[in-house]
């Protein structure tokens, strides 16, 4: 039941969990009916234009030590059909004015970083998928997957299951070489009722379950016809650490200028 999907044209929900683009990839052929059923379900949670969110990350170490960071995340699909996302950090205090820009491409996304030390935005290259992102349990890959950015791979649908006593669709993605993934398999569990991803299991080579990303079903809420989970948890099972994610102040289809997502705009205060 493996197949390839075509490039995603539609914007994919930021908050619906693992994106359709991540699941099906740009160069993949049309999915079969079983996978398409899940995809259509997930597309119900995709905003038509853009989103603006405040997200808090609480990275907790093995002894309970916490590092809190907050970022305002702007996301938009531009006319070229590719998604862009900008993180503007507001906390910790010393992090203000730092920005991260992610631009979707046919292969892995391009990432740009701006901090006052860099003096100008710089493209971040060569990062292996496994490195951690600003001290949380997310790797660049985890973060990009969560945000719905393209990661080529082959997807199949497994028999339905249950997560937190809720019936879920089960999709299994094997990232392709082009994805330069740290994982050999990513399993997503999509809530049949709300079409929100409730759980993502990421397996390292040799079948070791490394990370589990879960959405708290109690935090599911509907905003402008879109279902989202506002409380999420990323657990690194090998390192014994975790990161709590709290989504606040969702704005759907706000009018955002394209220039906000240009590299040259990085470091400027205006939205």
């Amino acid at each position: 039941m493996y197949y390839h999907t075509s490039p995603m044209r539609a914007a994919i929900t930021l908050w619906g969990g693992l994106s359709l683009a991540a699941l099906f990839g740009f160069q993949e052929p049309e999915p079969d009916a079983a996978v398409r059923e899940v995809r259509e379900c997930m597309e119900k949670n995709v905003p038509a234009r853009s989103t603006v969110q405040m997200v808090e990350f609480v990275a907790v170490d093995r002894v309970g030590g916490e590092r809190v960071s907050r970022a305002k995340i702007y996301a938009k699909e531009l006319d070229d059909g590719y998604r862009r996302m900008k993180l503007r950090f507001t906390r910790p205090e010393y992090q203000r004015n730092s920005e991260l820009l992610v631009i979707e491409t046919d292969a892995s996304p391009d990432t740009f970083l701006y901090t006052p030390e860099l003096r100008r935005p710089k493209r971040v290259t060569g990062t292996s998928g496994g490195g951690n992102l600003f001290g949380t349990d997310f790797s660049y890959e985890d973060f990009e997957r969560w945000q719905g950015f393209n990661r080529p791979g082959q997807t199949r649908r497994d028999p339905d299951a249950e997560v937190a006593e809720r019936p879920v669709y089960v999709l299994v993605t094997a990232p392709s070489d082009a994805a330069a993934s740290a994982y050999e398999k990513v399993v997503t569990f999509v809530d049949q009722q709300t079409c929100v991803t409730l759980k993502t299991d990421s397996y390292e080579p040799r079948g070791r379950l490394r990370k589990v990303f879960t959405a708290d079903p109690a935090s599911l809420m509907q905003e402008a016809e879109i279902w989202i989970a506002t409380k999420l948890l990323m657990r690194d099972l090998v390192d014994g650490t975790h990161t709590r994610v709290l989504v606040e102040d969702l704005e759907v289809d706000r009018d955002l200028k394209d220039s906000l997502f240009s590299v040259g705009h990085m470091g400027r205060r205006r939205d």
């Binding site: 170490d61 093995r62 002894v63 960071s69 910790p92 010393y94 971040v124 290259t125 060569g126 490195g131």
Partner: protein
């Protein structure tokens, strides 16, 4: 007790069936039969082995708790290090080799990840990009490119000196593992797989392996190899000693079956408790075999003695009789040995406490097995066709008698010599070195040690530990002032000759800073502002960085690589670092930690544990002696011949330079518990013989003749057993074997010299005597001399004197004879007469309670004749006895003298009355 003993000898099949059931139960506990079918015997033992030095550390120790906390925050420091040494690592061939090796090692099941030159991340900044990729991401053929990579690697403060030696000839691959037990690590054969892969990929480069997991596997394998060689060897040696002493097949086989069975029980009990064998408890199997033999030997030996005395007895009768005689001394000596081990449970070190408890269980089970298995088997096997006659006056006994004579004649010399040995030994105590070192435990030529030393030489230090700095509040380690304090501390550390390199969050920060500033070398520095430092660490964070700073930036971890392993030098280094940490900014505090640091600090715990267990053993054994001899002075005297070998053992440590480590610290309490057995045997026999002959000097010689042979045989068995431990490849076991044999050999020598010399002026009263001495009913009421005393006090008086049996018709006292003694009639009847002008004048009769010959006691000459008219038992009291009684039991003596005065006064009153009439 007698019904139980009777059951064992008369229902041997039931006993053997029960023993078999228990043994099968223990085997079932010990062996997983499902695994046995699939994986063979070696892998089916349920007993786990945990060789981590962590097990040696006290569980509630502040330093250990801090170390556990540090490991939890920064991740485990248990890495295996594979080093490749070649003419130049930066050739296409060698870098390809490192890359292939990295990939293959990462493919080994159980490996978490591998860090090497070909995957360690490096940050490079250019005008437009920030490139974060491995140090050697692609292996070039071009020599110029290779030279560039070489230069880049060697100037990288994170990796130069650790991942690559400063001369570019040695590179290391750090292998991190998933979290699983030592047993799993061994069963999966991870260490072997890594060794094989490393050797296959090495080509013409040299390969060295080191690191905690590798050392642990080497330690476990060496221990298991040693055990599989030593256990049969010990059984063989003990078999030879048994063959020499018994010269019968059952004399050899029965004790060996018993100790093997006890060992199975003990290990089954250990498996049941569920505690893995550790560095110390793994010594229990050979020690139990060595120490457990004597109990069954006594039982078998007594069986033969009984049959020699009563050849007509059936085997069941002989077994029963032998058990009755032997159960108490066997149980008692078992308790004293167990007491020695029990004292080890006072040690603050968990592994030694477990050793103490498991050994106590082992010894008690061995006693139980010895009192059941050999008697039951002897009873079933029937009487031997021929019993070898043992001459009580052979060359050995004659030699022993001469030694005893010498001891008596040179008593003062022996006591002075013992005092001199004691003083010399005490004088050597300050020279005792303390400490354990897992590397130096391996033979000098072993690959474990040579690899460690090679890595130490080429990579600036293989002995890695941590300095952990703590700030007063979160974000401490993004403040430039604190980051510079870390930098200065690192600079100070690398100036120490024992330190090869350090790594900290500052090294990472500087590299990130340089990368963010287009690789400008000027930015290889701590940023000037907290904002900048925070941002750099925020965006430059990685799994590797998590090992050096916690998520709140309050804790910083410096890894330090030392090139020394010597205990004293390492301790000196730690102390210097601690002094330096005391000079840190007031907002910062620092602690030195890590596995080698905790092991080094174990020395204090070893000393504390040794003191606790020695005092504990002495107190426990003294209490047992006090209960036995009912006299504090006799207890103390009995303790002397056992304390001396222990003091000499410590003196030997001081003089030979052998360290007091976790293995050698077992010797003193263990030796105390074992040596006391011989003393008890000797004192008990001496007590018996001194009373029998009414002469302590004769008793001294006779007792040594009686116990000399068994004491010597058991000492030979134990000492040779300990000597077998010297065949071990591990140095601490060799030391344990040599020093154990030396200490117990010396204890045997003391038993033959000092113990008789001390005993010769002693009258011993044992608890057993006081419990069993028959003075008839209510002696305190029926014998006037004992008026006002308790039953036990009556027996003490009797035991300080001597009991005599006389036959009817015998003249006990002849008028006019000299004699400084008197008699108390226990039972029987006497006629008292004196010479008159017209023949004998009848002065009356004497029965139970009467005092006879009291005039002789005071005036030296008997005033009447006393004849036995009915078989009788008498208590003979001399002036010497009375003096000893006054000294040792003054209250009892005062009562007896008052009673005697009353008796004499009554007699005077009656005589006066008779004269009046």
């Amino acid at each position: 007790m007698d019904p139980i003993l009777g059951f064992i000898s008369k229902r041997p099949w039931i006993v053997l069936a029960l023993l078999s059931l228990v043994t099968l139960g223990a085997i079932a506990r010990l062996i997983d039969f499902d695994r046995l079918r699939e994986q063979g015997l070696a892998r089916s033992f349920r007993l786990e082995i945990d060789m981590s030095t962590n097990r040696l550390l006290p569980e509630d120790d502040e330093d250990k708790l801090f170390y556990d906390f540090v490991r939890k925050v920064f991740g485990s420091d248990e890495t295996l290090l594979v080093a490749l040494h070649a003419q130049d690592i930066f050739t296409e061939e060698n870098l390809t080799r490192v890359s292939r090796l990295t990939t293959r090692l990462e493919d080994v099941e159980g490996v978490h990840h591998v860090v090497s030159l070909t995957n360690a991340l490096n940050i490079r900044g250019t005008e437009d990009s920030l490139d974060i990729r491995p140090l050697v991401s692609e292996i070039p053929e071009d020599p110029e490119e290779l030279a560039r990579i070489r230069a880049e690697a060697l100037e990288n403060p994170l990796y130069s000196g650790s991942l690559i030696s400063t001369d570019g000839r040695t590179t290391s691959l750090l292998v991190y593992f998933l979290d699983f037990s030592d047993r799993e690590f061994i069963e999966r054969g991870i260490d072997e797989q890594i060794q094989t892969i490393a050797l296959e990929e090495a080509g013409d480069a040299e390969v060295w392996l080191s690191g905690g997991p590798h050392l642990k596997v080497a330690q476990i394998q060496t221990q298991l190899r040693g055990l599989t060689r030593m256990l049969p060897l010990i059984l063989g040696v003990l078999g030879l000693v048994l063959a020499f002493s018994f010269r019968t097949i059952r004399g050899v086989v029965l004790p060996l079956i018993t100790i093997v069975m006890s060992l199975v029980w003990s290990m089954g009990a250990a498996a049941m408790i569920g505690r893995p064998l550790n560095l110390v408890t793994i010594l229990i199997p050979p020690l139990l075999l060595i120490l457990g033999l004597s109990y069954s030997v006594h039982v078998v030996s007594q069986f033969y003695d009984t049959l020699r005395e009563r050849p007509g007895d059936t085997s069941a009768e002989a077994t029963h009789r032998a058990l009755r005689l032997v159960w108490l001394p066997v149980a008692l000596t078992g308790f004293t040995t167990a007491a020695g081990f029990l004292a080890l449970a006072l040690s603050p070190m968990g592994a030694i406490r477990e050793f103490g408890v498991l050994s106590v269980v082992g010894v008690l089970l061995t006693v139980l097995a010895s009192l059941t298995a050999p008697p039951a088997l002897l009873s079933v096997m029937g009487k031997p066709r021929r019993i070898r006659e043992v001459s009580g006056d052979g060359p050995f006994e004659r030699f022993v008698a001469r030694v005893a004579q010498f001891d008596l004649e040179r008593r003062r010399t022996i006591l002075l010599a013992a005092a001199a040995v004691f003083v010399v030994s005490v004088g050597a105590l300050p020279f005792i070195k303390i400490g354990s070192n897992s590397i130096e435990n391996f033979p000098r030529e072993s690959s474990v040690r040579t690899d460690f030393e090679a890595i130490n030489r080429h990579l600036g230090g293989a002995n890695s530990f941590n300095v952990v700095l703590q700030g007063a509040e979160p974000d401490t380690f993004i403040e430039p002032v604190n980051l510079r304090a870390v930098e200065e501390l690192q600079q100070w550390l690398v100036m120490q000759p024992e330190i090869g390199g350090t790594t900290s969050v500052v090294d990472y920060l500087k590299l990130i800073n340089r990368g963010f500033h287009d690789n400008d070398p000027a930015y290889l520095a701590v940023p000037d502002s907290k904002r900048a430092a925070g941002r750099l660490l925020f965006f430059g964070s990685s799994d590797d960085l998590d090992g050096f700073v916690d998520r709140t930036y309050r804790l910083a971890n410096l890894t330090v690589r030392a090139n020394i392993v010597d205990h004293e030098l390492f301790r000196g280094l730690i102390e210097r670092i601690e002094d330096r940490l005391a000079d840190l900014e007031p907002m910062l505090s620092g602690k030195v930690t890590g596995n080698p640091v905790l092991l080094n600090r174990l020395s204090d715990d070893i000393v504390k544990g040794q003191a606790y267990s020695l005092v504990g053993a002495l107190v426990l054994i003294y209490v047992i002696l006090l209960l036995m001899f009912l006299d504090y002075r006799t207890g103390l005297i009995a303790l002397v011949p056992n304390v001396l070998p222990v003091v000499v053992y410590f003196g030997a440590l001081g003089l030979t330079g052998v360290t007091l480590n976790f293995a050698t610290s077992l010797i003193a309490p263990m030796a105390l518990g074992i040596a006391i057995d011989d003393t008890i045997h000797y004192f008990t026999r001496f007590n018996h013989d001194a009373k029998r002959f009414a002469d302590e000097r004769r008793g001294t010689i006779s007792a040594l003749r009686a116990v000399g042979r068994p004491v010597t045989y058991t000492s030979i068995a134990i000492c040779t057993g300990f000597l077998v431990l010297m065949t071990s490849e591990l140095r601490n076991q060799v030391q344990l074997g040599a020093l154990g044999a030396f200490t117990l050999g010396f204890a045997w020598f003391v038993d033959f010299t000092l113990t008789p010399a001390l005993c010769s002026g002693l009258r011993v009263v044992t608890l057993w005597d006081t419990l069993t001495l028959d003075l008839g009913e209510e002696p305190q009421n029926s014998i006037p001399l004992f008026n006002g005393l308790s039953k036990t006090q009556c027996r003490i008086v009797a035991l300080m004197a001597s009991m005599h049996e006389v036959r009817k018709g015998h003249r006990l006292i002849r008028e006019g004879d000299a004699g400084r003694h008197m008699y108390v009639v226990i039972d029987g009847a006497f006629k008292i007469t004196t010479r008159g002008e017209h023949g004998a004048i009848d002065l009356g009769t004497a029965e139970r309670g009467a005092v006879l010959g009291e005039v002789g006691l005071f005036y030296g000459t008997a005033s009447a004749n006393v004849d036995v008219v009915e078989d009788a038992r008498l208590l003979r009291l001399t002036q010497k006895n009375m003096a000893r009684l006054s000294r040792r039991y003054p209250r009892i003596a005062a009562r007896v003298l008052a009673n005697l005065n009353e008796t004499l006064a009554g007699r005077l009153w009656r005589t006066t009355g008779r004269l009046k009439t």
